[in-house]
């Protein structure tokens, strides 16, 4: 087993422990609490009125668009991260300092075109 892998074992343990605590607490609460179930109590909450219609209706597509943009910026961040980490070292090793700088600027500039496009298409304007 590599030395490095051992650092991950505690993560596994804390995962187990956390889920154990959560389930234990839930079960304890289930055992301790009273159980008097009435129809009104189990009804979905709609400010005291009887529920109207189906709860799972469809939503604005804006949520999808926001999530889509999140994905793309997330990917960008994930790709930028290795760059940021090696930026210093590479700038030294390659001798040409501007090279590492420029390649990222190209990447960011390309995405910035997309950013402008998305902005102008009004995706960020929630009220519209």
């Amino acid at each position: 087993m590599s030395n490095d892998l051992q650092n991950y074992i505690p993560l596994l343990m804390s995962f187990g422990l956390a889920s154990l605590i959560a389930t234990t607490l839930l079960i304890t609460s289930r055992l301790l609490g009273p159980r008097i179930q009435t129809r009104e109590k189990l009804m979905p909450y709609e400010c005291g009125n009887d529920p109207v219609g189906n709860a799972r209706d469809r939503f604005s597509v804006k949520f999808y668009l926001v999530c889509l943009l999140f994905i793309l910026f997330d990917i960008e961040a994930i790709i930028l991260i290795p760059w940021a980490v090696v930026y210093r070292a590479l700038a030294e090793e390659l001798g040409n300092k501007l090279f590492v700088y420029a390649e990222m600027m190209i990447f960011v500039a390309t995405l910035f075109v997309g950013y402008i496009y998305v902005w102008k298409k009004g995706v960020f304007d929630w009220s519209k």
């Binding site: 804390s14 839930l26 609490g33 961040a77």
Partner: protein, 452 residues
């Protein structure tokens, strides 16, 4: 200051037996404590970390419990009230009372709900909040539970999964308010998560590692906190962090005083409180990240010097003590800032919230990456910084340069934001007022009457 000096001098003149006691104590501590990175057998890397994690979870749970009390106390103080003061002295037993009350509440599952997912959602939230605690740098290496290479990235990834708990909870309730609340919460969290991801990139240029301990060490080797170099990034991070934890003034989705309580409307009893605990744990985690990335983690300038004044036997112990204390104080300060913000700023509208995330913080984070990279190259060209075997080294001129440049880079960023948002309607009150045409005003004022 005086007390510290007294303490140091006292240690210097301390009797030999005390010194030997400390030495023995350290020798008696199991191997894992000083070097849990190279365990020798199963006990070392199963039993002890397990204990460590258990203790940590216990501590954090207590901290979270008292965080709720602190929040109530501080809010009371800000509003010139007293706050909880009946249970125990100063209301110190209030969290326990709350916990017990919630534990013996009835466990209600709405009949329309999807039972499996309804149960699973809070557990996911809680696990995602707690698992991150294992990688935080509470102090020098043996005071933290584990130090993985990709600590920061791990935190990012777990928090991105954590959103699932919220969205599943809202969906499983099969009720309108929770579902809407969950969608809005998750859209909000997701928006600000992107900003966090990008703003961390600019910090990584200086840290060059994801390891949380490595980030602290990077600041320690320079003797500087990165907030000086990365002030714009810190601002972006802080704002995004508040939004990411769904706290006021960004608590749109669960604005309990105006709307119904968001994704956990249908949750009651201890199910609700698990969400609650997860939320507060996330606050702790986020403040810990901010403290680590920008405020030096457990490092305080001068602590190495103080430790060097001590006899060798105490050094580790003193460093640990100082480190853990410093870390707690920093986290506490940021947490206090969170609570303070809640009672100071009015709530945003949802469109303002999205706009702030996408039109202000996102370009700010992007511009900051570009600026930080440029400043770094500049500093390098000027010969102010060099790295020796991967460790950054700079003289005071370099530090001054980066600090000044870091603060100055705030201006181009602000100029950019101003330029691109000049016509923004969400944050420009004058523009908002003029958009309401006179003809549509409901209240017609008779001539001669001035509006109040």
């Amino acid at each position: 200051m005086m007390i510290q000096w007294l303490w140091i001098t006292a240690l210097h003149v301390a009797p030999k037996w005390l010194e030997s006691l400390v030495e023995q104590l350290f020798a008696a501590l199991p191997v894992w404590l000083t070097s849990n990175l190279t365990p020798t057998d199963a006990t070392d890397f199963i039993v002890w970390p397990l204990l460590q994690i258990g203790v940590m979870l216990l501590i954090v749970l207590t901290v979270v419990a008292y965080l709720t009390l602190a929040e109530r106390k501080v809010s009371a103080w800000i509003q010139v009230r007293v706050g909880p003061n009946r249970t125990g002295p100063l209301g110190l037993l209030q969290p326990a009372a709350d916990g017990i009350k919630l534990l013996i509440k009835e466990d209600v599952i709405p009949f329309k709900a999807d039972k499996v997912v309804f149960t699973l959602a809070p557990i996911i939230s809680m696990v995602c909040a707690f698992i991150v605690l294992a990688v935080l740098p509470y102090g020098p290496h043996y005071a933290s539970i584990t130090n993985i290479n990709i600590g920061l990235l791990f935190i990012l990834s777990v928090s991105s999964v954590g959103v699932l708990g919220i969205i599943l909870g809202g969906w499983a309730s099969n009720s309108k308010y929770p579902l809407l609340g969950a969608l809005r919460s998750s859209a909000q969290m997701v928006s600000y998560e992107a900003a966090i991801g990008l703003t961390i990139v600019s910090a990584l240029i200086f840290t060059r590692t994801f390891s949380m301990q490595g980030i602290v060490e990077a600041q320690r080797s320079l003797g500087v906190w990165f907030i000086l170099f990365l002030f714009p990034s810190f601002i972006v991070f802080l704002v995004s962090a508040v939004a990411e934890t769904n706290r006021a003034p960004f608590d749109l989705a669960e604005a309990e005083s105006e709307l119904v309580g968001g994704f956990h409307t249908e949750y009651s009893g201890f199910r609700f409180s698990i969400f609650f605990i997860a939320e507060y744990t996330n606050m702790v985690v986020v403040s810990a990240i901010a403290a680590t990335l920008y405020l030096g983690g457990w490092y305080v300038p001068g602590m190495d010097w103080v430790a060097a004044q001590l006899p060798a036997a105490y050094r580790e112990a003193a460093l640990t003590l100082m480190g853990v204390t410093a870390f707690s104080i920093k986290c506490g300060a940021i947490l206090y800032l969170f609570i303070w913000m809640r009672w100071t700023f009015p709530r945003y509208r949802y469109d303002q919230l999205m706009e702030l995330g996408w039109k202000w913080l996102m370009p700010a984070a992007l511009a900051n990456i570009v600026l930080t990279a440029t400043i770094f190259i500049l500093g390098k060209e000027l010969g102010l910084v060099r790295s020796v075997k991967g460790v950054l080294e700079m003289a005071w001129q370099g530090k001054v340069f980066f600090t000044v440049a870091g603060f100055l880079s705030l201006f181009p960023i602000l100029a950019l934001l101003n330029a691109i948002n000049r016509n923004s309607r969400s944050f420009n009150l004058r523009a908002q007022r003029t958009t309401i045409p006179l003809s549509t005003r409901k209240v017609k004022l008779s001539p001669g009457v001035k509006p109040a």
